[in-house]
Amino acid sequence: MTRIYKHRLFWPLVALAALLLACSIKRPDILGITVLDGHLFGAPIDILRNSAPLLLVALGMTLVIATRGIDLSVGATVAIAGAVALTFIASSDQPGSLGTALGAIFVAVGLCFLLGCFNGLLVAKFGIQPIIATLILMTAGRGMAMLITNGQITTVTSAPFSSLASGFLMGLPVAAIIAYGVYLVVSILVRRTALGMLLESVGINPEASRLAGVKSKTLVFTVYALCGLLAGLAGLIFASNTMAADANNAGLFIELDAILAVVIGGTSLAGGKFNLSGTLIGVLIITTLSLTVTVLGVSPLVTSLFKAIVVIAVTLMMSTRLRTMLAGLRERRRFQEVSA
């Protein structure tokens, strides 16, 4: 019993369950899934679909954080991906064709990959502190997106492209399939190859890792590049959802949500050991929170406060220091009883 209680994902899972419980008390039928036209519908499916962009971003963020880094530029990258893809479609002759949509996806993701490489270069090659290095793109990125869209909110119509967010495949939302598919692939890649171990090694002790022959710089570069690429994918899902490239608001503050998800999932910002399943639960908690807020009818004015309380509760329960303090209190009480 105590073992379950001590598992590092115990409290995040409790929080997730509590949120879902709160929803279903208010609206008992909310967790039900219905089949309509061969597609699945319902709140759980909504959560899966809505969590897609955040999951992609948080996935990359986890790996970056494992190397003692951080990537603040993912929100801007999301905006750039949307701007590039939609501008590409808008300027093409046949905006509705599949080829155009694929071209847009390819160009946007490719550019975001390059932006990730730029971050990686600054951090790994030039040794700039990650928070500063990625701050550059965080601020400049939205400007770039503005430039691409000419300061307009570009709206386009392209059935193939919009199916990224609203389409269904085998009854499931395409966005969820992409995000969770990528998540699965990366998880397997990280643990089946030596990438996970080497990343942790670099995050725990960079100098010892270098002297052990680990190519720390290449590894660090790679995770930033990957993080950029994943943020690009997330940006496409965002853009396809609205079919409008909003350089100012697309992916706004998603970097903070992603960092939050990583932390809730039990990965330390100090780097080293990371936990992808924890990140997944963190993402689900944050996405479910939005649903809970709506279902419970929490006033939009205090929504962010409500979110903050949940997050504080989870992180506090996971804090090892708080746990040892509590354990120490218990110990001390026993000790006083004994000596008295």
Partner: protein, 526 residues
């Protein structure tokens, strides 16, 4: 060294007679557990005011754990601690410090980016008008530094000083709070002879002032020079507590090492020196005019298979820097390296690894250990780094390698899943050796592999070096202990002031005094 007769310590005996009847610290039945490791079991320990009490034991015996149990770093599973006859349990080093128990740990735990004065006064900063009184801070710090006989600018950054000075600063810091109990966990491991004397002078003064000093050191001579009482631990259990004057060195060592008879203690395979190299042998590595500004003056060096090159020199003489150049840990800015007669690029550790060169750093904690990874992961790290991340080592192969080396080197606990940070210093060192041996190196650069570890592990490591050389490996062995260098080496390279001053074959007319002379004068011919 071990066979020497017990030294008479009249002062210790008389002090022992005058000892107050009640100990200042009394620990009874202490048990401490870590995940996968039982670090201490039912240990008693007491400490009297005005004495230097040495805590002895091999690596993993539980010395550091006992200290951490006392200061509240480690939770104790059972047992009791009393200070001045009052039961107490500290919540951490800060709490212990406030109650007059100051600790200086084995590894210097200071902030290298702060000034010396800030480090010393941290936690007891003089304040004025709600802010820090910087001038007073520097002035007070200067007083403590003077007491340690240290003549450095309190306003200078701590990181700009040598490890030895940092250690003395750490001790100054411990004395700020008018400590009744001073715990010194291997304070001397990075100090040279003069600095040790300086430290001992301070310790004697403190002893006279009635401070109780708990002293941990692996240098037997130092233990007999300074301590009044000795407590011996072995494998997490108490062996005995004795007055130093009544415990001969030989007996002390045999009490520390379980299952080894007196005959094997300190015995190292006598190497069949010089004959190892055949006259027609080709050098494995040839360095020509290799150097790096501010680190090592250009030097020539040839390394042969099956040969142990000993490196002697003081701390900071350039011995470490030389090894780092051969490994590519630092880039050489002049000269060249040939491997098997072919020009080779050695500009990164990874390239050196590719050429089957391995290097263990003297800074185990900072540059060797990946503390939060398991023993198994630490062992396969070198192999895996050489393969790159895309080609993971097959699980069965990895387990095989890990088990083999844990067994061969006697890593304790023999649990591959234990986190490396929970192992003792000597066992961490064995794991690091395993990491390199697993890569089957042709050239092994060992920088102070025996520092801060006990005699048993030292002997094991030295024997291992002999065996490896016999199997044809070329070994560079750096050690501050000249006896070790003399015993192991075929040739000895002497470093002085960042310069290679001598290279002499190890023969009968080379002994410790001779080496010291060369180190001191830098002249080979006298």
């Amino acid at each position: 060294m071990i066979a020497s007769t017990p030294q008479q310590r009249p002062t210790a005996a008389t002090e022992a007679e005058h000892q107050p009847t009640s100990p200042i610290v009394q620990m009874s039945g202490i048990t401490v557990e870590f995940p996968g490791v039982k670090a201490l079991e039912n240990v008693d320990f007491r400490l009297f005011p005005g004495e230097v009490h040495a805590l002895m034991g091999e690596n993993g015996a539980g010395k550091s754990t006992l200290i951490k149990a006392l200061t509240g770093v480690n939770q104790i599973a059972s047992g009791s601690i009393t200070v001045n006859a009052t039961p107490i349990r500290f919540s951490g080093p800060a709490d212990a410090r406030e109650n007059g128990i100051s600790t200086v740990y084995q590894e210097v735990n200071l902030c290298t980016n702060l000034t010396v004065a800030e480090n010393i006064m941290l936690g007891s900063e003089p304040r004025r008008f709600g802010g820090l009184d910087w001038r007073s801070m520097r002035r007070q710090a200067a007083v403590f530094l003077k007491r340690m006989g240290l003549n450095i600018d309190p306003g200078s950054s701590l990181g700009s000083h040598s490890l030895a000075v940092q250690q003395l600063v750490a001790i100054s810091r411990a004395m700020v709070v008018d400590a009744k109990v001073l715990i010194l966990d291997e304070p001397t491991s990075s100090l040279d002879t003069d600095e040790v004397e300086q430290l001992f002078a301070v310790m004697r003064q403190l002893r006279e002032d009635g401070v109780a000093i708990l002293f941990v050191s692996h240098f037997l001579d130092q233990i007999y020079a300074i301590s009044d009482r000795i407590t011996i631990l072995r494998n997490g259990a108490l062996v005995e507590e004795r007055l130093t004057g009544e415990l001969p060195q030989r007996e002390l060592v045999s009490l520390m090492i379980a299952g080894t008879s007196d005959a094997t203690v300190g015995q190292v395979i006598e190497r069949n020196v010089v004959s190892a190299r055949k006259s027609d042998a080709k050098p494995l590595l040839q360095a020509v005019g290799l150097g790096r500004k501010g680190a090592v003056q250009p030097f020539d060096l040839e390394l042969y298979p099956g040969e142990v090159i000993g490196m002697a020199g003081l701390l900071g003489s350039g011995r470490t820097e030389l090894a780092r150049l051969l490994y590519g840990a630092d880039k050489a800015d002049e000269g060249s390296i040939q491997l098997h007669g072919v020009q080779a690029k050695l500009r990164t550790p990874r390239q050196a690894l590719g050429h089957k060169i391995a290097y263990t750093s003297e800074d185990r904690k900072g540059e060797g250990v990946i503390g939060d990874l398991s023993v198994a992961e630490n062992i396969i790290l070198g192999l895996q780094a050489a393969r790159g991340w895309t080609r993971p080592l097959p699980a069965t192969k990895a387990a095989q390698v890990v088990d083999a080396y844990i067994k061969a080197l006697g890593v304790r606990p023999a649990n591959p899943q234990a986190l490396l940070k929970n192992l003792s210093g000597g066992n961490q060192q064995k794991v690091l050796l395993a990491r390199w041996l697993a890569t089957a190196p042709k050239l092994l650069l060992l920088d102070e592999p025996t520092r801060g570890i006990d005699i048993g592990a030292k002997t094991e490591i030295m024997n291992l070096v002999s065996e490896l050389a016999e199997q044809g490996m070329s070994v560079v062995f750096i050690s501050a202990e000249l006896e070790e260098v003399l015993r192991l080496s075929d040739r000895i390279v002497v470093m002085r002031d960042h310069t290679k001053v001598a290279e002499i074959p190890s023969s009968q007319d080379v002994d410790v005094p001779r080496l010291i002379e060369i180190i001191a004068t830098g002249e080979e011919n006298t």
